[in-house]
Amino acid sequence: MASGKRESFDNPVVEWIDSRLPLFTLMNKEYGVFPVPKNFNYFWNFGAIASFMLITMIVTGIILAMQYTANIHMAFDSVERIMRDVNFGWLIRYIHMNGASFFFIAVYIHIFRGMFYGSYKAPREILWILGVIIFLLMMATAFIGYVLPWGQMSYWGATVITNLFSAFPIIGEPIVTWLWGGFSVDNPTLNRFFALHYLLPFIIFAVVFLHVWALHVCGSNNPLGIEPQDKKDTLPFHPYYTMKDSFGLLVFLILFCAFVFFMPDALGHPDNYIPANPLVTPAHIVPEWYFLPFYAILRAITFDTNLVMLGGFGLMFMPFFWNVLAMLVKQFAKMDLPRFKAMTPKAPFLIGGLVVAGAGFALSGLIPLLTDVTIIEAKLGGVLAMFGAIVLWIFMPWLDSHPVRSAMFRPVFKTLFLILVVDFIFLGYVGSQPADAMLVGLPLSIFGLIATAYYFAFFVVVLPILSVTEQGKPLPKSIHDAVLSQHKAAKAAKK
């Protein structure tokens, strides 16, 4: 090692290897004595669980790939052959199918935990952004994977989703043709999807490596959201968290196995057991459950965005655009422009912008040269909103500049965030319904639009405003202090 210092091992074989390639030293440093805040709750298990699911998916996926045939005439039958004639093929495939769902369950909990406890805040921005990239890669991988069995939902899901790219003006159609490798979803599409479905998990693995690396540089956040100060605040990763993670993982696996062995098709769609047929469209094309909230956002945008609305949105982000401009000016013209500070109230811009955008929407098509100029058509608006809903997460560390991390000490943030979680689940419900569904006598699409509006408002309006206005409760002196007083309170309550 560079420092030349390395503690020797007693076992001669381990010592022989470690003095040549310090693998054991590395593992001990990162997973043995690595200091971890001692106050984790069970929400902190889901990183380990998600890693376990990733490995499970890669292993079962490689085995399936040995039996699968990526050809439109054979794919469906080859999957059935795996289910019927390959030894334990049914088990491997059901693990892989349900594994995708449970991977997403773990990752969703992991993401919302990060949001709740402010894990995206400095110095963990890169760690957070890598996480968002992993999620985007997972979505791509899962979508492509669902196409491979070449059932009805595979085919029509692929057709609908790849067609989204045609919403982009000029380049849209060529992109779709390029993705398909032809003029419809066909054999070339299936072949490239198979190749990508094999490739992407390894890219995910690489980004997970970076994610963990970044984690081990700045250390874990914790439920209190305050940094550990000394040894009293932390515990070595092993055995404390290796044991706790193992227990949490086993509980998760019980749930997972309940699905794999007793209701393996409950999370899938029956139509995918019908071979793909380009001439018959299913009654309702629905994506896998884990895409439903985003599918609802896609379908919520049924209106064109006119010039005034776009101006309103632009006004909302004026401070951000201005700062970017100032940065560029400083870089290239060596001139200092005044900038918006993190704590400058941005509410006037946000609310002013919203009012302008709202007025533009209400007067749509009425004012010549202003509200009758369509800039973004509804279809493209939906696509942008859907991708934007995730890309937005990348900017969370800057949208939320409140100095307090954990929602435990931010009551307003906590309430509004929990509403966001409910809102997100509700969007999932909206996405699962046919487009013309009703709820309490009103078209469901209205609720979908309101839920979508809240989703975006939370990130671009609520977070920046709360950053400035929310007082926040006093933070404990240290993790150790908080844990001690909690124990005292618990003991007192018992007496």
Binding site: K38, M83, Y94, S246, L250, L253, A266
Partner: protein, 255 residues
């Protein structure tokens, strides 16, 4: 048991927002739930019913519907021995070849052959059925909401069309078909197939037996799966309990 069923269903909805929800309020009435021996985590197939169901399939359904994912050898799971399977297979003639002269030839089917399809290809199947394609039945209970209940409901759901519904030639009215119009004419009648084991020779019983058989055909490893699952869950429960104790012990000095 019913409570558990409800709990599982509730859990499903909460956990997964299963797309199945989208269909809870579809346009066709929900297929009534039947009492199946294979339901629940301990459910198994009833071999007598499977054998009767095979009989119904072979005598009635197989006239139009293929089951191309099944081999005759798979019938071992129904309780037939090798000789019986050979005899069943031998009742069908399949095309094999080419032989040493390069000619295709006909021979009796063997257990290693796949179920013989009634039509040579989709076009022929459509031509013989007024342009409607009888779906392959290998996976039918997995490919429809309601599974076996749906198959049973369709087979017993034929009715006179209400007055406002006008049927074209070759169309039939079925209570449980989405959209109510179905190309298949009511295929079953009471006493149509002779059962040797004294089971009632009713449309309802035929429908139950063939739905049972088709559930097995779509999910032949269900019994293995559930048996393995019980072992796996028990193992995981025990392992989790041990790990919980280990975790408590490890953390004891911190509490």
């Amino acid at each position: 048991m019913d409570n558990m069923k409800h709990a599982i269903r509730f859990f499903l909805v909460i956990l997964a927002l299963s797309p199945a929800m989208a269909y809870a309020a579809g346009d066709a009435p929900h297929a009534p739930e039947q009492d199946w021996s294979f339901s629940g985590p301990f459910g198994t197939y009833d071999k007598a019913s499977l054998q009767r169901g095979l009989l119904v399939y072979r005598q009635v359904c197989a006239v139009c519907h293929s089951m191309k994912h099944l081999f005759y050898r798979d019938l071992e799971a129904l309780g037939y021995d090798e000789g019986q399977i050979k005899a069943i297979a031998a009742e069908y003639t399949v095309t094999d070849g080419p032989d040493d002269e390069g000619e295709m030839f006909e021979r009796p089917a063997r257990p290693s052959d796949k179920f013989k399809s009634p039509f040579a290809n989709e076009k022929q199947a459509k031509a013989a059925n007024n342009g409607a394609l009888p779906p392959d039945l290998s996976l039918i209970t997995k490919a429809r909401h309601g599974g076996a209940d749906y198959v049973h409901a369709i087979l017993t759901g034929y009715e006179e069309a209400p007055e406002h519904v006008e049927l074209l030639p070759g169309q039939n009215y079925n209570k449980y078909m989405p959209g109510h119009i179905i190309a298949m004419a009511s295929p079953l009648m009471d006493d149509q197939i002779a059962y040797e084991d004294g089971s009632p020779q009713t449309v309802d019983q035929y429908a139950k037996d063939v739905a049972h058989f088709l559930t097995w055909a779509a999910d032949p490893y269900m019994e293995d799966r559930k048996r393995t699952g019980i072992k796996v869950i028990l193992f995981l429960l025990a392992f989790a309990a041990v790990m919980y104790a280990v975790k408590r012990k490890t953390w004891a000095d911190q509490h």
